[in-house]
């Protein structure tokens, strides 16, 4: 017996066969139809549609045969598979040496006749065989029967491949679906990317707009910077030299150009020492340090131009950020003119006062001498007139002195020289000055003080305040009235409070907001025979403002309201008296440099 031969392209053949995915599937009517037709037409008992696998033949359709598969080696279809003819025919198996002793010939099912046609897959591989088998030998297999047989085999082949086709179709469908899915995913990705691009576009528009705004603001700044008449310079760490300056700076310092200006330190653009005798370089670093700590620092400074000429200036150092670095911007203003004007004003006031005081002093002295009888004894009438002259003159002297003080206060050029002062002693001396008037008007005067510490105040200035408050109290309280002067420490021990309370004419409600203004005298006391300049409270307030203290007033017994105003609803009503309050911080007055003392 000859085993069914294995063709050369067995590997490919098997691949193709398995691709069909028909092996071990259920019988199908479309295949059974063909094998049934075959047995009817050829009047044979057996017809199979065989698929030839690696080691077996498996029947997709089988008529007249009990099993569904068999060994490939002994199979007829295995032989038919490799036939070179169109049809592989064995008319009598016993007469063929290849099959005479085949188990299927000598044993069940006793095959005597076989005809088979290979079936090709769509790949062109012989995947199986369509065959008919008989238990009787045949004499012949005529041509017309061969044709019919070929026809049936073609049919079988078609069905074989249509399964493949339908598989292919369905897999194509699957592929199509996958493809469609992929396409959708791509579409979605595309949409997402488009969205991102859109956002980027919007971003870009925003960035462009912001860029434009920066440009506009840069232009604005640049134009301000360049056209400003104040010198604007930048100092950069760590050496704090000037790294840039605008046109005004270049001109102010008489530099040839920015290059000559930059990389100089503030010390190099100042005289060796400042007016307070500190070395400019050292003092400049102190100012820079303070600007860095506080964010800004405004101070007066003496600068020096490149040609060596010094000039007074105000400097504003501001901390700013450029490109994330902290630098200082210096705005410098040449105040030579202002200083000259101030100087001229001060000199004018001094000169005017001097000129005015000279004849006043003369009148004073001669009147004194007349009253003293130096030019001869005077009678009562003459005494009266002379005394009137003298008093009038005294008032003028007072007025000129006051005007001088006011001008110094307003110009801010007065000196504050604090020293540890016993407030009570200072008050007592001011009170002593008023004693003659107090006695003359038979006023009841009381003085109270609790234990208050000495504080740093300029005694001259505070004396002026006390003097003013006391003289007002005395002036505006009628005969027999009373005045109380008290000094105390506040609850938190942070302020010294002074009160001057009188039982005098009081201040009309509608005039209270003018009390601290220049040359003001309330209507209700203008008629009373009093002297005074109308400037005393104005001066007192200026002094208190400048020295970090407070001054205000109210009706007696009322609680101290805000600075300078009576408490709402509680006014100093006429003839109920007035109380003035002065409050000084325990830290005292700040030392103040100036050119003139108040006197």
């Amino acid at each position: 017996m000859q085993s069914a031969p294995i063709p050369e392209n067995e590997k490919e053949r098997l691949e193709s066969l398995h691709k069909l995915a028909l092996l071990d599937t259920k019988p199908e009517e479309r295949f059974d139809r063909i094998t049934r037709t075959a047995i009817k037409v050829f009047k044979v008992p057996i017809s199979t549609l065989t698929l030839v696998d690696a080691t077996r033949e498996w029947f997709k359709s089988c008529q007249g045969f009990p099993a569904h598969e068999g060994e490939r080696a002994i199979s007829f279809c295995g032989h038919a598979l490799v036939t070179k003819k169109d049809v592989f025919v064995i008319l009598d198996t016993t007469k063929d040496s290849r099959f005479a002793d085949n188990p299927m010939v000598v044993g069940k099912p006793f095959i005597r006749f076989y005809a088979g046609i290979p079936l090709l897959s769509a790949d062109g591989e012989r995947v199986g065989v369509f065959c008919i088998k008989d238990i009787k030998p045949h004499n012949e297999f005529p041509e017309n029967e061969e044709e019919i047989f070929k026809g049936l085999a073609s049919w079988a082949e078609l069905e074989l491949n249509s399964h493949n086709l339908s598989l292919a179709l369905s897999s194509r469908k699957k592929i199509e679906e996958k493809y469609t899915k992929h396409v959708k995913e791509l579409e979605d990705s595309k949409k997402a990317i488009l969205n991102v691009l859109e956002d980027l576009d919007v971003e870009k528009v925003n960035i462009d707009a912001a860029q434009k705004r920066i440009e506009v603001s840069e232009k604005k700044f640049k134009s301000l910077y360049e056209s400003s008449r104040d010198a604007i310079m930048i100092l950069e760490p760590p050496t704090w030299k000037f790294t840039s300056g605008n046109q005004a700076a270049i001109e102010m310092f008489r530099a040839k150009d920015e290059a000559e200006f930059i990389l100089k330190t503030p010390g190099q653009l100042s005289p060796e020492r400042q007016p307070d005798n500190q070395l400019s370089g050292e003092k400049a670093m102190k100012q820079i340090k303070m600007a860095l700590e506080k964010g800004s620092n405004f101070f007066e400074w003496t600068h020096m131009k490149i040609n060596g000429k010094s000039f007074p200036a105000t400097v504003l150092l501001s901390k700013i950020e450029i490109n994330g670095r902290g630098v200082l911007q210096a705005t410098v203003r040449d105040i030579t003119k202002e200083k000259e004007i101030d100087k001229a004003k001060t000199e004018f006031v001094s000169l005017a006062s001097h000129q005015l005081l000279t004849p006043l002093s003369t009148v004073n002295w001669y009147t004194e001498m007349l009253l003293a009888g130096d030019a001869g004894k005077i009678n009562a009438g003459q005494k009266e007139y002379l005394e009137a002259v003298y008093r009038g003159n005294q008032r003028m002297v007072e007025l000129v002195d006051t005007l001088l003080n006011v001008s110094r206060l307003e110009l801010g050029i007065f000196v504050v020289e604090p020293e540890p002062t016993d407030i009570a002693d200072l008050a007592k001396s001011a009170i002593a000055e008023q004693k003659p008037q107090i006695d003359a008007k038979k006023l009841k005067f009381s003085f109270h003080t609790t234990d208050v510490p000495k504080i740093n105040v300029d005694p001259k200035l505070l004396h002026m305040v006390f003097q003013n408050l006391l003289s007002n109290a005395v002036k505006y309280t009628p005969k027999g009235g009373s005045i109380e002067f008290s000094i105390s420490l506040d609850k938190k021990k942070r302020h010294i409070n002074i009160q001057v309370a009188d039982t005098g004419y009081g201040i009309p409600k509608n005039q209270q907001d003018k009390i601290f203004t220049k040359l003001f005298r309330a209507d209700n006391v203008r008629g009373k025979d009093t002297e005074g300049t109308g400037l005393g409270l104005y001066i007192a307030k200026l002094i208190m403002d400048h020295s970090g203290g407070k001054i205000w007033f109210s009706s007696p017994g009322g609680s101290p309201p805000k600075d300078g105003q009576a408490a709402l609803g509680e006014e100093s009503s006429e003839n109920k008296g007035t109380t003035f309050y002065v409050s000084l911080p325990i830290s005292g007055m700040q030392k103040k440099e100036g050119t003139k003392a108040l006197g």
Binding site: S350, S353, H354, L357, T358, L360, S361, T362, N364, W365, Y366, E368, M369, A372, D374, V397, V400, D401, L404, V415, K460, K596, A597, G599
Partner: protein, 126 residues
């Protein structure tokens, strides 16, 4: 006339003639011998010619003011006591005058003439 003080000689250096005259009158009344100069230079010239027991000195004057006179006196070591009379009463003027050797400092407009005389007497009594 107060003979107790003898004839102490006082030099008044003051540019306001009426005031110089007032001082002359009042001080003569108190028994002093007075001479007047009307500006700083004149005053210095007189100081060089004769000896005085006391000087009353105005601050603001043309042709060498009071400070100038004091400076010159210091340089020339003229030790005569000086009372400075000022119109304005500036604390810094007082400091400066006293630093230059002035013994007393008064503000004219604030000081009755009688008080000035009393002070002079008190100083010269010593």
């Amino acid at each position: 006339m107060d003979k107790k003080y003898g004839q102490k000689k006082i030099l008044v250096i003051e540019d306001e003639k009426a005031m110089a005259r007032a001082l002359e009158l009042k001080l003569a009344h108190a028994g002093f011998s007075i001479k007047s100069a009307y500006n700083g230079e004149e005053g210095l010239a007189m100081l060089e010619k004769e000896k005085f027991d006391f000087i009353i000195l105005d601050l603001i004057m043309p042709q060498l003011d009071g400070f100038g006179v004091l400076a010159e006196m210091k340089k020339k070591e003229i030790k005569t006591p000086v009372m400075v009379l000022s119109n304005l009463g500036q604390a810094e003027d007082e400091k400066r005058a006293k630093a230059l050797g002035a013994q007393e400092f008064f503000v004219k407009s604030n000081t009755p003439i009688a008080d000035i005389v009393t002070r002079v007497q008190a100083i010269l009594q010593k």
